[in-house]
Symmetry: C2
Subunit: 372 residues, 2 copies
């Protein structure tokens, strides 16, 4: 039987996530008939390889979606708000990696391993959760099913690629400048020791996109600050976790921090459960959870590192131990590739589910009253 093939558009094809989406589509052998690479007018004309041939990037417009079956959006919330509804009107199914529609009541917010059932009802747009939320829920959802999570505390160690390709460039450029200033350090380990500070050079990096120097530094700000003195990223983790776990009042607290890593986010996680859950049981549950790989032989160096998580679809979980400071508490350490499972892989998996017959077909269905 010949497999049905689909016309795919990637919106934001030259970005950090877009680049990874092309890689994941190819690796997963997604049944692509034609591919359309869309980006800002500035990037139009660039040529990008995909599946053995080279494709030209086109400037994004409403007309870009004619004949498209599935559009993977990763070009920021503004672009999604403007073009995703148009893509749907032209018959495409949209998987949107931005925050634009995530909390919209009629938009499913899906991690395929966690809540695939949410795909049953949609109006043409499916939202891909925030990367930090996806990486958190891969291990927490099965623990929630087993013992009922009643509180989550999480601090993140987020790579610069989460802020896009320009932030990766910022880290590279600042590091290069700092190393130039540090000199050969032949006199180490007898001082003088290097400072973290890259005096006066931040201005040289073109347009730094992160709010401070990231080379040899960490920044307790991911995304913008809100009225309540938390960042958007922190509130996304709270609200999206509640929506995906269908636990609207679940207590969650997050501190989100940028670290000088190119790819892969890590998270220190504390959970309290309704019912007792031993470390051994938690580890056994996680070992059989899809999308999760347990790396937990700490004394032998066996724990998740962003270095090892980068380039992988699985989320690595380790340092699983009892939290002795509270009743029914567990502590975990998680590392996962924010561009892959945190974004591109999750989006492609959603498209696979939608076109794989596991849920009602979208093409040929009827768009209900779309409210965007």
């Amino acid at each position: 039987m010949k497999q049905k093939r689909y016309n795919v558009a990637v919106v934001g094809a030259t970005g950090a996530v877009g680049t990874e989406m092309l890689r994941v589509l190819a690796e997963h052998r997604f049944p692509v008939k034609g591919i359309r690479l869309l980006a800002s007018a500035r990037s139009a004309g660039k040529r990008i390889p995909f599946n053995g041939s080279t494709h030209t990037v086109e400037a994004l417009s409403g007309r870009s979606f004619t004949g498209i079956d599935v559009a993977l959006f990763s070009a920021g919330a503004g672009r999604s708000l403007e073009f995703a509804p148009e893509a749907v009107r032209r018959g495409a199914l949209v998987v949107d990696n931005s925050s634009a529609f995530r909390m919209h009541e009629e938009v499913p917010l899906v991690v395929p391993e966690v809540n695939p059932h949410a795909l049953r009802r949609h109006e043409g747009i499916i939202a891909n959760p925030n990367c930090s939320t996806i990486l958190l829920l891969l291990p927490l959802a099965p623990l929630h099913r087993a013992a009922g999570i009643k509180r989550i505390v999480v601090s993140t160690y987020q790579s610069v690629s989460g802020a896009g390709a320009k932030a990766m460039y910022q880290l590279w450029k600042e590091t290069k400048d700092a190393m130039g200033r540090l000199g050969p350090l032949a006199r180490w380990p007898v001082g003088p020791f290097p400072s973290n500070r890259l005096t006066g050079s931040t201005g040289k990096t073109g347009q730094p996109v992160l709010p401070a120097q990231i080379a040899f530094n960490v920044i307790p700000q991911v995304d913008a600050f809100l009225e309540n003195r938390s960042t958007k990223e922190e509130m996304k983790m709270i609200h999206e976790t509640r929506k995906i776990l269908e636990a609207p009042d679940l207590p969650v607290s997050a501190t989100c921090v940028r670290v000088p890593v190119f790819v892969a986010h890590s998270e220190a996680v504390w959970v309290e459960t309704e019912r007792p859950l031993s470390v051994a049981d938690a580890r056994r549950i996680l070992r059989t959870s899809p999308g999760v790989r347990v790396v937990d032989k700490p004394a032998a160096g066996g724990y998740p590192l962003p270095l090892d998580a980068a380039g992988q679809d699985d989320v690595l979980v380790g340092r699983i131990r009892k939290d002795e400071s509270v009743r029914n508490g567990l502590v975990l350490w998680v590392s996962g590739d924010n561009l892959r499972k945190g974004a591109a892989t999750n989006a492609v998996q959603i498209a696979e589910l939608l076109f794989g017959g596991e849920v009602a077909k979208w093409r040929g269905g009827k768009v209900r009253k779309a409210s965007w």
Copy 2:
């Protein structure tokens, strides 16, 4: 009135903390009569400047302490165990930065701003707490006095200098190698994007002292693992916090992580208090707490960064906000210089207190039955 001056020995004078101790002694105008720089035989003969003249490093032995009034130890627990009691027998007062004596019942474990009264009884050795513990307690002790802390959860972002000068060299060398491999990246921000991984080059860094590559990576291991699957560093934070706050059963949970920063540790902190404490009250208390500087205008980029904390004695505290996930919860973000307030400054401050007349004089006093 002529100020009394003292003969000072710095043990581990060529290390990351030792170097900083010399700087702090000079900056604080500690009344130094003579200085004796002690280190391993390997470093003996090196010449190091202090207060305008150059001093020769001597090999550490028991005889090194004859005529010494105060010995600042920062050469690892093994050296402290071997030589601190001998220094005391020869009449020196020891301020020990290692973990050797911290939990010893007869040894005060002191943060001068928090528990100076603990200095009243000692037997010649005063222990300097772990750097992460000092930085945590500077802001938490005044909140504890105000509202009674009943649980602490903390995750750390620790700089490589906490593992000594060789770890600083490891970060520098690995970064240099990685940048060489990454090349000019002229094609950015269109991929290929750099990997975090420094393939096969870790072996070139001489002797890496950290358990994994630290350049463009984070490592959820600081110090060795114990039976209970926590690290020594994590257990130090728990036990030392309890001893200093005189709260032997205080629930504390910590995850300690190394990040690619040269100097200054940061910490994401959650506290629950017995009595309600508003964010405004917490901020007001911290503003008048010694050793603490509140940096908390987040929307304007006002939050603690290791970059800003490095080289300072004050611990920076910001991102002070309500933890909505629990009753009476607060969240904080802390950055402090682990070599200065986390080690050298705290040790010198202890010596200043001891010789400043605020506590009973040691010289001329009697050593009670020393049990080491």
